[in-house]
C-alpha cells in the first residue's frame, strides 16, 4: 500500500520538477523566478519566446506520453497480452500511414490529420483482430500478426516519404518522434483529444479489471465482454492515433510504462491507468528535454533517448520482481 502511494508521489513530483526544468533550460536560459514572474506579468521577452516555442512542445510531450502509455494499458487488457502496445501491433504506424497518404494527396485537409490518424489506427487494429480471431485471439499469434501489420504500414509509409522527400511532410515521421516546431494549434488538438481519451480510459477502468478473468467466466456473470472490448479498443486507438498525429512515432513507451506500473502499483486499473498517464508523461518529457539539451545545438529525437533510458530501467525492475504481471 505504501509502495503505491510513494510511487505516485514520486512520479508526480518528478513530473513537476522536470516540467519546470524543461522550461528554463535550452538555448535561452532563465531562472525559475524570472520564469514565474514573466508568466504572470508578460513583460519578459525571453519568457514570451519560451511560451511560444518551448511550452507547446512540453505540453505535447506530456500529453503524448500519457496517451501512449494509457493506450498500452488498455490494449494489454483488451488483448490479454502483456506485449500488446500501439507501436508494436501496428496501430501507430497505421495511423501514421493514413495521415501521410491524405496529406500527400490532399494537402489542404491538413487540419483533419487527427481524424485520418484515427481511421488508420482503427484500420490496423481491426486487421490484427480479424486475422487473429480464428485462432481464438491466441496471444502469440496476435502479436505476430501485429508485428506483420506494423511492418507493412511502416514500409508503405517509408516508401511514400522516400518518394516525396522534399515535400512538406516534415510534420509526420514514420520511424521517430517529432516534437520540434510545435505550435499552439498542435497543443489544442493534442490536449483536446488527449484529455477526452484519458478521461474515457479512466471511466472504463472497472471493465479493464474485469477482462483479467476469462471470457466464459465473464459471460456467466452476465458481463457483455465483446461490447466492453470494442469500447476499450476505440479509446485505446483514439489515444494512440492522436499522439502519433501530433508527436510522431514512439514505439516502446506503451509497453515500458504499463509494466513498470504493474510492478510498482499492481494490476488494479483504477490505480494503474492514472499512474501510467503520469509516468508516461514524465518519461517522454524527460527524454525530450535531454534530447534537446545533451548535445545542443543538435537535437536527438525523444523516442531514441526514451528507449535508451527506459529499456535498462525496465530490466532493472523485472530483475527485482519475481514475476512478470500479465493481464
Amino acid at each position: 500500500m505504501y509502495k503505491k502511494i510513494i510511487s505516485f508521489i514520486v512520479v508526480t513530483i518528478l513530473l513537476f520538477v522536470v516540467t519546470i526544468y524543461s522550461m528554463v533550460t535550452g538555448s535561452i536560459e532563465i531562472t525559475v523566478g524570472e520564469l514565474l514572474k514573466g508568466l504572470f506579468t508578460g513583460t519578459n521577452d525571453n519568457v514570451e519566446i519560451i511560451k511560444d516555442l518551448r511550452l507547446p512542445r512540453i505540453i505535447i510531450a506530456i500529453f503524448a506520453g500519457a496517451a501512449l502509455s494509457v493506450s498500452g494499458v488498455l490494449l494489454q487488457s483488451v488483448m490479454r497480452n502483456p506485449l500488446a502496445e500501439p507501436g508494436i501491433i501496428g496501430v501507430s504506424s497505421g495511423a501514421g500511414f493514413v495521415s501521410i497518404i491524405m496529406i500527400t494527396f490532399f494537402p489542404t485537409l491538413f487540419f483533419y490529420t487527427p481524424l485520418f490518424s484515427f481511421i488508420g489506427g482503427a484500420l490496423a487494429f481491426l486487421l490484427v483482430y480479424m486475422f487473429s480471431w480464428k485462432s481464438g485471439l491466441n496471444p502469440l499469434r496476435m502479436i505476430l500478426i501485429g508485428v506483420a501489420i506494423n511492418a507493412v504500414f511502416t514500409g508503405l509509409s517509408e516508401l511514400l516519404s522516400a518518394q516525396n522527400a522534399s515535400s512538406m511532410m516534415s510534420g509526420i515521421s514514420v520511424t521517430s518522434s517529432t516534437l520540434t516546431m510545435k505550435t499552439w494549434n498542435d497543443v489544442h488538438v493534442m490536449v483536446l483529444y488527449g484529455s477526452i481519451g484519458l478521461i474515457l480510459a479512466f471511466l472504463v477502468f472497472a471493465w479493464c479489471n474485469h477482462l483479467g478473468l476469462k471470457d466464459k467466466t465473464l459471460k456467466n456473470l452476465g458481463f457483455r465482454v465483446n461490447r466492453a472490448r470494442f469500447i476499450i479498443s476505440i479509446i485505446a486507438v483514439l489515444l494512440a492515433s492522436v499522439a502519433t498525429a501530433i508527436a510522431g512515432m514512439f514505439t516502446f513507451v506503451g509497453l515500458l510504462i504499463p509494466h513498470i506500473g504493474r510492478t510498482l502499483v499492481g494490476t488494479d486499473h483504477k490505480v494503474l491507468i492514472p499512474f501510467s498517464a503520469i509516468a508516461g508523461a514524465l518519461l517522454i518529457l524527460t527524454a525530450d528535454t535531454l534530447g534537446r539539451t545533451v548535445a545542443a545545438p543538435i537535437e536527438i529525437p525523444a523516442s531514441i533517448i526514451m528507449a535508451v533510458i527506459g529499456g535498462p530501467f525496465l530490466i532493472f525492475l523485472l530483475r527485482k520482481s519475481d514475476r512478470i504481471y500479465g493481464n
Binding site: L213, K216, L221, G222
Partner: protein, 256 residues
C-alpha cells in the same frame, strides 16, 4: 431445468452432443459422468449458455435459455469452470466480489446486500480469514474454493461445477464435495457437476447422467443405474459393484 433433444457441434462440424435429453430436479445434486471426450463439459457449456445448441432447447423456469438477457441469466446460473485465471495480485475478497456483477450496474456502488453475500460466500468456503490475501498465495484447493465462493456470491438457485475436484488431493476433493452437499442440503441449491470418480458420484449425487460419445446412456438414481454392465458399456472397464451395509454402494475396478 429441462434439456430437450440437444444437438451440438463446434466449428469443426463433429457432433459432440447427439439428441441429449435430461431433466434437472430442483434442490438435487446431479452428476454427469463418462469417459474423456464424451461431451460432459460440452453439455455443461450448453446448459450454461456458453455454447448454443444447433438443435433442441434448454428450458429454465419455463423460458428458453438463449432468450434470457445476460444479467438475468447470471442471476439464475452460477458456474465454476475447470480452468480459471485472475490477476495474481488480486485479493480473494475482490475476486469474490465479481460474483455480484449481475446484481449491479457498471457505475453503481456496493450495496449492503453485496457485502452480506460476499461475507456469506467467504464463510461458506472457509476463506473468510484469508480474504485479504492475494490469490497466488493460496493452495490449489483454496483457489478452487475461491471460484466456488465467487459463484456463491452470485446468489443463484443453480450452481454448475465442471470437474471441481480435478488436480486436488484426496482431502481437498472431499472438502469440496462436502461443501457441495452442504450447499444443497442447507441452502437448497440445485447443483450440476461433472466428476471423474464414480464412487464420489455415487456417494454425493441424487441423480447420475452417464454419457458416451455425445449420447446419454443412462440417467437416474445411482443405486438403480450403476451396474457392472453400465460401467462396462460406458468406460469399457471391468468392475464389481458392492453394496455394503456400513459404507453403502461402491465399485471396485478390476481391469480392462
Amino acid at each position: 431445468m429441462e434439456i430437450n433433444d440437444i444437438t451440438f457441434a463446434y466449428q469443426d462440424k463433429i457432433t459432440r452432443l447427439h439428441k441429449v435429453n435430461a431433466q434437472l430436479k430442483k434442490g438435487e445434486i446431479t452428476t454427469i459422468i463418462g469417459p474423456n471426450g464424451c461431451g460432459k463439459s460440452t453439455l455443461l457449456s450448453v446448459l450454461t449458455n456458453n455454447n448454443q445448441p444447433q438443435a433442441g432447447q434448454v428450458i429454465l423456469d419455463g423460458k428458453v435459455l438463449n432468450k434470457y438477457k445476460p444479467k438475468e441469466l447470471a442471476k439464475k446460473l452460477g458456474v465454476v469452470h475447470q480452468q480459471n485465471t485472475a490477476p495474481a495480485d488480486m485479493t480473494v475478497e475482490k475476486l469474490v466480489h465479481y460474483g455480484r456483477l449481475p446484481h449491479k450496474n457498471t457505475f453503481s456502488p456496493q450495496s449492503e446486500k453485496d457485502e452480506q453475500m460476499v461475507e456469506w460466500a467467504l464463510k461458506c468456503t472457509g476463506l473468510y480469514e484469508r480474504r485479504h490475501d492475494a490469490i497466488d498465495t493460496l493452495s490449489g484447493g483454496q483457489q478452487q474454493r475461491v471460484w466456488i465462493a465467487m459463484a456463491l456470491a452470485q446468489d443463484t438457485p443453480f450452481l454448475f461445477l465442471d470437474e471441481p475436484t480435478s488436480n486436488l488431493d484426496m482431502y481437498y476433493q472431499y472438502e469440496i464435495l462436502e461443501l457441495v452437499k452442504q450447499l444443497c442440503e442447507e441452502h437448497g441449491l440445485t447443483i450440476v457437476m461433472v466428476l471423474h470418480d464414480i464412487n464420489q458420484a455415487i456417494q454425493y449425487s441424487h441423480t447420475i447422467i452417464a454419457m458416451k460419445q455425445g449420447k446419454v446412456i443412462e440417467t437416474g438414481n445411482p443405486k438403480e443405474i450403476v451396474t457392472r454392465e453400465l460401467i462396462q458399456e460406458v468406460y469399457g472397464v471391468n468392475v464389481v459393484v458392492k453394496d455394503d451395509e456400513d459404507v453403502g454402494m461402491y465399485i471396485v475396478p478390476l481391469g480392462i
